[in-house]
C-alpha cells in the first residue's frame, strides 16, 4: 500500500503509523461525562468500506494525515493534512 503524503508524495506504508479512526470526537477537556469519554476512548464504528482515519508520516515529514481508505479494498480515496483540516473547523472534525 502506498499513501500519498501531501508533503512528501507517495510513500510506502512502512513509513506511516496508523493512529486509528478519525471520526472520534474528544469531549471537552473539562467534561466529566464518563459515557462520552468512554465512547471516545473505546468505541469505534469500524466500518467495512470507506473509513476516515489518522496516519502519521513518522518516517517522513511527521505530519498527521486524514486518510479516507476503503477497508474492503484498501483503496485510498483522499489524503489531507490533519492539523490544517482540524484548525479550519476549530479542532472539531
Amino acid at each position: 500500500m502506498l499513501i500519498s503524503c501531501p508533503y512528501c508524495g507517495p510513500r510506502d506504508l512502512s513509513e506511516f503509523s496508523y493512529q486509528g479512526d478519525a471520526s472520534r470526537m474528544r469531549p471537552d477537556a473539562a467534561s466529566t461525562d464518563i459515557k462520552a469519554w468512554h465512547d471516545y476512548v473505546y468505541n469505534r464504528p469500524n466500518p467495512a468500506g470507506p473509513h476516515r482515519e489518522y496516519w502519521q508520516h513518522t518516517a517522513g515529514c511527521r505530519a498527521h494525515l486524514i486518510v479516507t481508505r476503503d477497508t474492503l479494498t484498501h483503496e485510498i480515496h483522499e489524503v489531507t493534512f490533519a492539523r490544517a483540516a482540524l484548525r479550519a473547523v476549530g479542532g472539531r472534525p
Binding site: 510506502d12 493512529q19 469531549p27 466529566t32 469519554w37 502519521q56 498527521h64 490533519a82 484548525r87
Partner: protein, 996 residues
C-alpha cells in the same frame, strides 16, 4: 556424447562443458542447461520420491510448475532443500542430492507406504490415532506417539541448522511500466512502452529472455523466434530507460501496485563476486503493470500417470528445442488438444521416434494432422491412455475412448515407449492477476480460468488472456505496452509470426477413469479417488477439497493439478466447473527464499544505537546490554567479579563518595512556543506553567484511559522554551503521543516539538562528593545551594565545552545531570572522570542505577507496565485537582480505584536470599503447595546501604500491608522464602542526602 543429447539444436553452449554431481555421482552438462535437462541428457529419469507413498518420480515439467524433481542443493556449506531441478542452472561444482528417500533414491524403504494405499486415503488421520480413552496412553499421548512417525515420513528435503552465510539484499524500484514475462507479448509491450520514453522494467523468471520464443520453433520477423527474442532483448538492453531483470520471478502483487520480485543473482555462479548478493528482493512500485505471464500446461489424469518417463508435452518439446535433449527415444503423445502435435513434430525433428499420438478427440484439425505427418505417425484418435508399466516407463496401454461419455471400450492396446508426453490443455498463469484482486473467470471453450477484471492498474497480454497464437501475442503485447503509457502504438509494422493454425480449444476431458492410482497432485500424492472420497464425505467446496485432501498445497502450489482437481470434483457434484469455485491465489506465485525477504537484516536484525561515550564504556570493561536499540553498560566488571559484586561495588561507591553514569539515552524533546507551558499543563498530571525559568520539575503523564504512560523531568530554559526528558524506553512513544495531541486534539496551540535526544550527551554525577567533582572542573558558574538549588539549572563550561547542569537525583544522593553537545560528550565525560579521580569516582551501569533507585523506591518501566495507575504507585500527589489533563476524565473509574488493586510496596528478604524479578508474593504456602498470588516482585537488588536483599513489588492492598510478613514464591526457579512488606522508601526517606 550423452545418450540423450540431440546432435544439434538447442540454445545451450555446446562448447562449454560443466561438471556437477547428483547424489554424489559426477555428470557433465553444458552451459545453459538446467539440472533437469542435464540429467535427462545423461539418461537419468529417476529424480525423486513422492511425499506420501514415496513413489519413484521423474521430471514432469521444464519450469516453475515442477511437482516431482525437487533436489537439495549443497552450497556455501549449507543445505537448500526443495529446489526444482527444472529451475536450477548448473554450474561447475554444483552438488545436488535427491530427497525424501531412505536409504537411496533407487531403493526407498518408505515405498512400503504404497501397499497401504487405500488405508492412507484422504483425511485418514482424522479418523484414527486417537488412542485409548483410559490408561497411560489416554489424552494426547497415543496420538503424539504416532505423530512422531508421521512427521518423520512426511516432509520433503532436509534443512540444515548452520547459519546461512549468504548475502541478501533488498532493492527499491520505481517505474512507469513493469512488464512481467518476456515472451513475445512481454517483449513487444516493453518495447512499445520504452519507445514512448517511459521508465520500463521487464522481469523474466528464466535466465534467458524470450519465453516461448526460445522453444516454440517458430519464426518471428523472418528469423527463428529465439533469435528474434535475443535481438529484441539486446535492443531493450541498450535503452537507458529500460531495466531488464532476468532470473527474476515477480511473486507478489500487493496494494497500490507494489509488486515483489526475487532476482536470483548468484545461484548460477560457482562463486559469487564479493559484495554480490545471492538473492535480491525487489520491491517495485509501478504506475502500470503489463502481465504477460503466459500459460501453464496441465496434464490429463489417468492411472499410472506418475511413472518416471511421463511428462508434459510442452516440457518435452522444450527439452528438445531449448536444451537439445531428448526426454526419450520412443515417445508417445497423449492429448486432448492440438498443441501436443507441435511437440510431437519437434521431438521427431530432434531425433526421437514418435511411436504414437493418442488423442481423446475423434476429430482433429487439419493443422494437427499435418503436424502428425511431420512426426511420422498416424494419430490414434478417440483413444486414451489407461495405464503405464515399467520401473521407468517401458509401456503404456491405450484403449478406445468416448470423450462425450468418458467411457472406455475395446481391447487394451500395449505400446512400448520410454517417454509419454501428455497435454490436457493450458491454464493461463493468472496468479498475479488474481492476487491483484477480483475473481477469475471460467472460459468454457478454453476450459480455463481467465484473469479477472483488473481492480488495480494492470493490463494483460498474450497467453494469459487466452491468446492462442504468437501473432496475437505480438499485437496484444504492443497494444498493452502502448496503452500502459497512454501512447499511440509504434507505427512500425508488427513482426510477422508464422505458426500453424491450430484449434485453440481442448476437448473437456480431464480424467481417464480406469483401474489404478491416477494422480491429480503428484507432489502430495492426491489421487482422483481421494477427491471423490472428499466429495462423498461432504468436503465439496474448493477450499474444503484443498484442505481435506491437501490438493495444491505442495511446493508447486497446484500449478498442474488445480484445474484437473476442480474438474473431477465438478463431475462428482454434477456441477459446471465454475460453480465449484476458483482458488484464490495468494503470494508468493512461486516459493521465495526467506533470506531474500529479510534482506540485509539477515546479518543484523536492528541497527545499534550508541551513546557518545560508547567506546569508553567498552574499553573500560562495560558489559553492554540491549535497551531497546541502545546499548548500555550493565556493569563495569573488574577481574573475577560477579555481576552482583560489581553492582554492589558501584552502588556503594555512589553512596560513599561519587559515581558517574551515562544517561544520554534518556528521551529528550524540545518543547517550544508561546503555548508550550499550557501544553505541558494539559499533558502532565501536574502543573508546569508555574515553573520558573532555570528550574526543572518531575512530571507524570497518563494515557487517555487513566493509566500511567511515562515520567521524567522537564526543564524550563526560557519563557517559551522547555526541555522535556522521558524514559529511554518510551522516548518514541511519548514523542508520538505529544505530536498526536498537537496535530489532532489541540491544533490551535502554538507549540513545536523536536527530538533532541541525540543532541545532548548526558552524564549523571551522583554521591556525597558530586559537587566537589564538578567544582573541580566547572567554570562560569557557581554550584552552591544559592546558585544551584535542588532542581535548579545552570550553564557553564567544562574544559571550555559549554555544559548545562541540572541538580536532580534518581539515586537519592546529591546529584547532577551534566548535559553537553553530543560531539563533546566523551570529552566532558573524561574531564569529569579525571576531576573525580581524587574522590575515587566510579562509573556505574544499569544494575547499580537500578539498585540506587530501588533503595529510594523510584518507579520505572517494571512498575509503570501499562496497567498501573498513579494511585497504584502512590503518585496521587502528582494528580492536579486544579485542571483537567490527559487521562483525568477516566482515571477514577471504579475498576481503577478498587482497594484490591495491586499497589507499590517495598520488600525485605528475611532469609538473606535474593528475591528474584518476576517472583510472586503469597500470604502462605510452600513450593509444594503454592498459595494464591497477591502480587509480584517488579525489581530487586542487594542493597549495599541496607546490607540486605530488598525489592519493589506490586501487592494487593499496597500500603495496608506495611509491616506484615509474606512469602516470595518463585516456583519457576524453585525459590520460596519469607519477606517483610515495608514502605518502598527504603533509604533516606526524608531526602536529606540529595538536598545536602
Amino acid at each position: 556424447m550423452s545418450p540423450r543429447r540431440a546432435r544439434s539444436g538447442g540454445l545451450i553452449d555446446r562448447g562449454r562443458a560443466i561438471s556437477f554431481t547428483f547424489d554424489g555421482k559426477a555428470y557433465t552438462g553444458h552451459a545453459g542447461d538446467t539440472l533437469a535437462s542435464a540429467l535427462l541428457a545423461n539418461g537419468v529419469t529417476l529424480f525423486g520420491r513422492s511425499f506420501k507413498y514415496h513413489r519413484p518420480r521423474g521430471v514432469y515439467t521444464a519450469g516453475v510448475d515442477e511437482p516431482n524433481a525437487l533436489v537439495t542443493v549443497l552450497k556455501d556449506g549449507v543445505r537448500e532443500p526443495n529446489i526444482p531441478a527444472t529451475l536450477l542452472e548448473i554450474h561447475d561444482g554444483l552438488e545436488a542430492d535427491s530427497q525424501n528417500r531412505f536409504p537411496s533414491l533407487d531403493f526407498d524403504l518408505n515405498a512400503v507406504n504404497q501397499l497401504g494405499g487405500p488405508l492412507f486415503s484422504a483425511g485418514f488421520y482424522y479418523k484414527t490415532f486417537m488412542g485409548p480413552v483410559m490408561g497411560p496412553l489416554k489424552g494426547t499421548r497415543f496420538w503424539m506417539f504416532c505423530e512422531h512417525f508421521i512427521r518423520r515420513a512426511a516432509g520433503l528435503g532436509r534443512a540444515g541448522y548452520e547459519k546461512d552465510p549468504a548475502r541478501y539484499e533488498r532493492m527499491n524500484a520505481f517505474c512507469d511500466v513493469l512488464v512481467i514475462g518476456s515472451g513475445p507479448a512481454g517483449l513487444m509491450a516493453a518495447e512499445a512502452a520504452a519507445l514512448a520514453g517511459k521508465r520500463v522494467i521487464l522481469a523474466e523468471q528464466e535466465p534467458r529472455l524470450g519465453g516461448t520464443a526460445n522453444w516454440s520453433g517458430e519464426t518471428i520477423g523472418g528469423v527463428s523466434a529465439a533469435d528474434w527474442a535475443e535481438a529484441m532483448a539486446e535492443k531493450l538492453a541498450a535503452m537507458d530507460n529500460v531495466r531488464l531483470l532476468a532470473r527474476t520471478t515477480v511473486w507478489g502483487y500487493y496494494d497500490g501496485n507494489n509488486l515483489a520480485a526475487l532476482e536470483r543473482v548468484a545461484d548460477h555462479l560457482a562463486t559469487a563476486p564479493r559484495g554480490l548478493p545471492r538473492h535480491r528482493h525487489w520491491s517495485i512500485r509501478a504506475a502500470k503493470v503489463v502481465l504477460a505471464t503466459g500459460a501453464l500446461e496441465r496434464p490429463i489424469v489417468f492411472p499410472g500417470n506418475d511413472r518416471p518417463g511421463v511428462m508434459l508435452a510442452g516440457a518435452a518439446m522444450r527439452y528438445a528445442n531449448e536444451f537439445g535433449v531428448l526426454p526419450g527415444e520412443r515417445i508417445a503423445v497423449f492429448t486432448n488438444n492440438d498443441s501436443a502435435y507441435r511437440a510431437a513434430a519437434a521431438l521427431r525433428k530432434a531425433g526421437a521416434a514418435i511411436v504414437a499420438i493418442i488423442d481423446v478427440r475423434q476429430d482433429i484439425s487439419a493443422a494437427a494432422r499435418k503436424l502428425a505427418e511431420e512426426a511420422g505417425v498416424a494419430p490414434l484418435t478417440g483413444h486414451a491412455v489407461v495405464g503405464t508399466a515399467g520401473k521407468r516407463l517401458a509401456k503404456i496401454s491405450a484403449q478406445r475412448f468416448d470423450a462425450a461419455t468418458g467411457r472406455l471400450s475395446g481391447d487394451v492396446r500395449p505400446i512400448e515407449v520410454d517417454c509419454l508426453a501428455v497435454s490436457g490443455g493450458w491454464s493461463p498463469a493468472i496468479h498475479l492477476a488474481s492476487q491483484a484482486g477480483g475473481s477469475p473467470v471460467w472460459d468454457e471453450k478454453l476450459s480455463a480460468f481467465l484473469p479477472p477484471e483488473p481492480t488495480q492498474d494492470w493490463l494483460g497480454a498474450g497467453a494469459l488472456t487466452g491468446a492462442a497464437t504468437t501473432a496475437e501475442a505480438l499485437s496484444a503485447g504492443r497494444r498493452a505496452g502502448s496503452a500502459a503509457v497512454g501512447a499511440e502504438a509504434p507505427s512500425s509494422a508488427l513482426p510477422e509470426a508464422a505458426s500453424p493454425t491450430l484449434d485453440p480449444f481442448p476437448a473437456p476431458v480431464f480424467e481417464i477413469k480406469a483401474k489404478g492410482k491416477a494422480f491429480v497432485d503428484l507432489q502430495h500424492d492426491v489421487t482422483a479417488d481421494d477427491i471423490r472420497l472428499a466429495h462423498r464425505e461432504g468436503f465439496v467446496s474448493v477450499e474444503h477439497l484443498k484442505r481435506y485432501t491437501t490438493l495444491g498445497m505442495a511446493t508447486d502450489q497446484g500449478k498442474t493439478s488445480n484445474v484437473p482437481g476442480l474438474a473431477i470434483m465438478a463431475e462428482a457434484r454434477g456441477l459446471p466447473i465454475d460453480r465449484v469455485g476458483a482458488t484464490r491465489f495468494r503470494p508468493p506465485f512461486a516459493p521465495v527464499s526467506i533470506g531474500s525477504l529479510a534482506a540485509e537484516t539477515h546479518r543484523h536484525l536492528k541497527p545499534d544505537r550508541l551513546t557518545p561515550m560508547h567506546d569508553w564504556h567498552v574499553e573500560r570493561g562495560g558489559r553492554m546490554m540491549p535497551a531497546g536499540l541502545w546499548h548500555r553498560p550493565m556493569i563495569y566488571g573488574e577481574l573475577g567479579e560477579t555481576v552482583e559484586q560489581a553492582y554492589i561495588r558501584e552502588a556503594a561507591a555512589v553512596r560513599r563518595s561519587v559515581g558517574i553514569c551515562d544517561v544520554s539515552t534518556l528521551g529528550k524533546i524540545a518543547v517550544k512556543g508561546p503555548d508550550a507551558a499550557e501544553f505541558l499543563d494539559r499533558v502532565y498530571t501536574n502543573v508546569f506553567s508555574t515553573l520558573p525559568i532555570g528550574k526543572a520539575r518531575y512530571g507524570l503523564m497518563l494515557r487517555e484511559d487513566g493509566i500511567v504512560l511515562d515520567d521524567g523531568t522537564t526543564w524550563r530554559l526560557g519563557e517559551h522554551d522547555f526541555l522535556m526528558t522521558t524514559t529511554t524506553a518510551n522516548a518514541g512513544k511519548v514523542m508520538q503521543h505529544l505530536e498526536y495531541l498537537l496535530d489532532i486534539v489541540w491544533p490551535e496551540l502554538r507549540v513545536h516539538l523536536t527530538s533532541v535526544t541525540d543532541q545532548w550527551a548526558g552524564a549523571s554525577v551522583a554521591g556525597p562528593n558530586a559537587r566537589k567533582v564538578l567544582e573541580a572542573c566547572i567554570t562560569g558558574t557557581g554550584l552552591d545551594d544559592a546558585a544551584l538549588p535542588f532542581m535548579g539549572i545552570v550553564h557553564g563550561a567544562i574544559d571550555d565545552v559549554p555544559v548545562m547542569i541540572c541538580r536532580l537525583s534518581f539515586s537519592g544522593e546529591l546529584a547532577y545531570e551534566v548535559y553537553c553537545g553530543a560531539g563533546h560528550g566523551l570529552h566532558v565525560w573524561e574531564a569529569l572522570v579525571e576531576a573525580g579521580a581524587p574522590y575515587g569516582i566510579v562509573p556505574y551501569g544499569l544494575e547499580a542505577l537500578g539498585t540506587l533507585r530501588i533503595e529510594k523506591g523510584h518507579v520505572t518501566g517494571a512498575e509503570m507496565d501499562g496497567r498501573t495507575t498513579a494511585r497504584d504507585l502512590y503518585l496521587d500527589w502528582m494528580l492536579s485537582k486544579k485542571k483537567p489533563f490527559v487521562g483525568s476524565a477516566l482515571m477514577d473509574r471504579e475498576g481503577l480505584i478498587d482497594r484490591n488493586r495491586i499497589r507499590l510496596v517495598g520488600l525485605i528478604s528475611l532469609d538473606g536470599q535474593p528475591l528474584g524479578g518476576g517472583a510472586h508474593i503469597v500470604e502462605k504456602g510452600s513450593l509444594d503447595d503454592l498459595g494464591a498470588s497477591i502480587g509480584h516482585v517488579t525489581a530487586f537488588c542487594y542493597s549495599p546501604a541496607l546490607q540486605k536483599y530488598i525489592g519493589l513489588a506490586l501487592v494487593k492492598g499496597g500500603k495496608a500491608r506495611h509491616g506484615t510478613r509474606a512469602f516470595v514464591s518463585d516456583p519457576l526457579r524453585r525459590r520460596f522464602g519469607p519477606v517483610e512488606i515495608v514502605s518502598h522508601h527504603f533509604f533516606d526517606p526524608e531526602g536529606r542526602r540529595m538536598h545536602g
